[in-house]
Symmetry: D2
Subunit: 118 residues, 4 copies
């Protein structure tokens, strides 16, 4: 059982029923993904920093964020589907690699330095 796979299959069927496979090349799907990421970013752009507790108590913000995260997830799954990528396995492999790349002792309380490389 896999809810990732269930979503992939359901979205694939949705696409096929509307004859939309013709629109779902990678470049177009990535642009659609970018559109949804933009909607998520917009929700948070002016949120005050350091007040994440307030955000967690703002049901309308959470409802909108939930919708945008869903849209993003669905395009990610559709991209994996059209490229025939086993996404659940790949994501687990990525976490395994991250565990090795960021040893607990060295990185506790310290974020990777993206400016100078880490």
């Amino acid at each position: 059982m896999s809810d990732l796979n269930d979503l992939i299959i359901r979205y694939r069927e949705f696409t096929r029923e509307r004859d939309w496979e013709q629109f779902h090349d990678p470049k177009s799907l990535i642009l659609a993904l970018v559109g949804e990421v933009g909607e998520l970013a917009e929700l948070f752009q002016w949120q005050p920093q350091g007040q994440e507790d307030l955000e967690r108590n703002d049901p309308e913000l959470l409802r909108r964020a939930s919708e945008e995260l869903s849209d993003i997830l669905l395009y990610v799954l559709r991209l994996a589907d059209v490229m025939d990528i086993a996404l659940s396995d790949a994501a687990n492999a990525k976490l395994t690699a991250a565990e090795e790349r960021f040893p607990i002792q060295e990185f506790t309380g310290r974020a990777p330095d993206k400016v100078r490389g880490s």
Copy 2:
């Protein structure tokens, strides 16, 4: 059983072990997500259009795309986790809404018109 949930729990544990929760506010996580979406976009930006069959036979492109899609998925799951969003349910609800919003008869072979609204 849910592989989405397994990934969420595994990533949560990875974060806790490194005391990285302090970095994982929504604004920071969305910026990290944008970074990964940018890496995915970069892979495809100069790919010739209409040659998606070639892409599907380019193992290095698929390997890199698989890594970027995994990174994107993981940040989406982490965002859902810190906001306590039931993402699998939300994504299924979104698909149900899309089925109603885009009736098969009306939208077969026709993409939503994003320029003029649809």
Copy 3:
């Protein structure tokens, strides 16, 4: 005199000399733009919030940000060029519209509410 236009013309010439116009359709250029925005986002994703003074004193961060902002600007100008858009005029018109949409009295010290619409 217009430095925006000088950059547009210089980039156009750069493109023509390499016979790269064939790659510069809007979808491809937007993906390239997204790649550069991702690199900018990555520089700031784990920067501590509320410590912008430190950022302004981090020459390596500023150097990298300057490069990414340049890349973003150049793709924006290239997009305007291939679509024959008078960008300087359009941006000034946007500012005029914003001045009317956000009257000083109503919006002093108050950001637009992107969650509930404003």
Copy 4:
């Protein structure tokens, strides 16, 4: 004379009049930029590939693209302003670097290979 600088100064004044400097830290401005890039991407996501001539004859698409490109430009300029970056010089330096990095003989008609590095 510099229209880039004129826009920067005009946007700075717009911000100051509304006491919005407090919202314009880099992380928040990058999220706002991402929101506008998302709106641009959305306009083009389902546009048929290889029909850019049609796009150039679609006044509504061009009008919307012009607005989104303007919004993106304005956030890029605002980011340069809050980080005190001389963007026009930096962008020209980037073009000079690109001219050296991509010699005409080697790259005529050939896009950089982003998958395997170039």
